[in-house]
């Protein structure tokens, strides 16, 4: 009956968005675990955060595999997004003299229109962020032999420009997540007359919670 088409299914307009959605959701889960772990910075005893960081470091091989997978997910997400954006520009080769907003039920917003820019800026931030902490100054905690990452974090977050740039990056992340969450479900074909409105609201809630959560750490340290 149905002869299969020769196209590789992931490399179609539908498939590319599946890749984008799945890699995006994977990064979303990473963000949640990263945020929960970082909340140990709010504990008065710096040893708790250092212990958390040390526990991750001690995982050795497993950590390398997870880091590798994370980098791969980032690459898939970014390269796919760049390709999709370039293709979309080609599909609309001449632009409108005047472009309006049709209003609800449209979800077109600043967030949905700037996904590629907020995404690339957040990635640039991630590079800067990893360099700052993972490959930053290696202090050793006084009463144990583990790395005193807490001291580095506090030192960094007492610096004006770092706190400001972290805040900007997290606002961009929030803007990105605002459209991303709903969009990922829609790209995976998950739409339901009753539940989709909740998914959209949940997306806004997650965007605020995750961006606000990450933002709260440098701000809290800065003022303490």
């Amino acid at each position: 009956m149905s002869e299969k088409t020769s196209t590789w299914i992931l490399w179609t307009t539908i498939g590319r968005k599946v890749l984008l959605a799945l890699s995006g959701l994977a990064l979303f889960f990473f963000l949640i675990f990263h945020l929960l772990g970082n909340f140990t910075l709010f504990v008065k005893d710096p040893g708790i955060f250092n212990q958390y960081a040390y526990t991750l470091e001690r995982m050795g091989f497993i950590l390398y595999v997870m880091e590798g997978l994370l980098i791969l997910t980032f690459l898939v997400h970014i390269l796919d997004a760049i390709f999709v954006t370039l293709e979309n520009r080609k599909a609309r080769s001449s632009s409108y003299y005047k472009e309006g907003n049709a209003g609800k039920p449209s979800r077109k917003s600043l967030s949905s229109k700037t996904m590629i820019y907020t995404g690339l800026l957040v990635f640039a931030f991630v590079v800067f962020h990893v360099k700052m902490f993972k490959y930053g100054a290696h202090y050793v905690a006084q009463n144990s032999n583990i790395r005193d990452l807490h001291r580095l974090v506090v030192e960094c977050f007492k610096t004006d420009y770092i706190v400001i740039s972290y805040c900007i990056a997290m606002i961009l992340l929030g803007l990105h997540l605002r459209h991303a969450f709903f969009s990922a479900f829609q790209s995976l074909g998950i739409a339901h007359p009753k539940y989709t409105p909740y998914i959209e609201k949940l997306g806004i809630l997650f965007a605020i919670a995750i961006a606000g959560g990450f933002l709260s750490i440098p701000v809290w340290i800065y003022f303490h």
């Binding site: 999709v84 449209s106 979800r107």
Partner: protein
């Protein structure tokens, strides 16, 4: 209401390969009860009298059924009124003295033929990949011989209300034809009559959609807001589910 004057900024383009530009016109003494297309007709009569080339526009039924007309008015496909076609836009919706921009449906897959007329054959080529539906020949079938629940029938009918005007493509920032193709796939995917070619239909229509050079769907949902039939983007999700089923199972 008294008659009004308007300033128009209209896209003029002599032919597919010619460069186009926005040209300003003024129309005076326009009745607010006039439709937008009637106003354009008046302007064209004026232009003809002056010996100028009239503005090429597409329209047929002028009662919002056929999907032939299609202009981008003030940056919105089919104008600012939702769930209507261009022909159902009236001059009373504009303020006296307002400057109104009029542009064609823009997409690389819709080459401009002249001025505001675009070639939407790409949509026809997607439809032609839709294969066959199964209908028994002979007399009218018995009512309820093929049980289809009301909910399912409504979903299929919602999708089938697409008139193929192409506003979804025009409004999409990526010129994606996902709503059009989704509606065409969804209308049969919900019904038993569509089942014989179900897998083939979604794979081939989606492939043709890509071949025509439409963009990727970014889930902006702008298409749903401009669709004269109010077709929901949940039909795009349905197309995606059909696509996964057809290609994975």
């Amino acid at each position: 209401m008294k008659n009004c004057n308007f300033k128009l900024l209209v896209w003029r383009q002599k032919g597919p390969q010619e460069p186009g530009k926005m040209v300003a016109y003024t129309v005076n003494d326009i009745s607010p009860d006039m439709s937008f297309l009637e106003m354009m007709d008046l302007l064209n009569e004026d232009l003809i009298k002056k010996g100028e080339d009239p503005i090429a526009i597409d329209s047929d039924c002028r009662e919002g059924i056929c999907g032939t007309c299609g202009l981008v008015i003030q940056g919105l496909a089919h104008g600012s009124k939702q769930k209507t076609c261009t022909c159902q836009i009236y001059m009373r919706d504009f303020k006296d003295g307002e400057t109104i921009t009029v542009e064609p449906f823009r997409s690389s897959a819709f080459p401009i033929i002249k001025d505001l007329v675009v070639n939407r054959s790409a949509l026809d080529r997607i439809i032609s990949k839709g294969g066959y539906v199964a209908n028994n020949i002979g007399g009218a079938p018995d009512a309820n011989a093929m049980p289809i629940s009301k909910e399912t029938a409504e979903l299929a009918l919602d999708a089938s209300s697409c008139i193929g005007c192409g506003a979804c493509v025009a409004a999409c920032p990526n010129s994606s034809a996902a709503l059009f193709t989704g509606a065409k796939i969804s209308q049969y995917a919900h019904l038993p009559q569509g089942s014989p070619d179900r897998k083939k239909r979604v794979l081939e229509m989606a492939q043709q959609m890509d071949k025509e050079g439409f963009g990727n769907c970014s889930n902006h949902g702008e298409c749903e807001a401009v669709c004269p039939q109010g077709i929901k983007i949940s039909h795009i999700a349905k197309m995606r589910r059909e696509f996964f089923k057809a290609s994975l199972l």
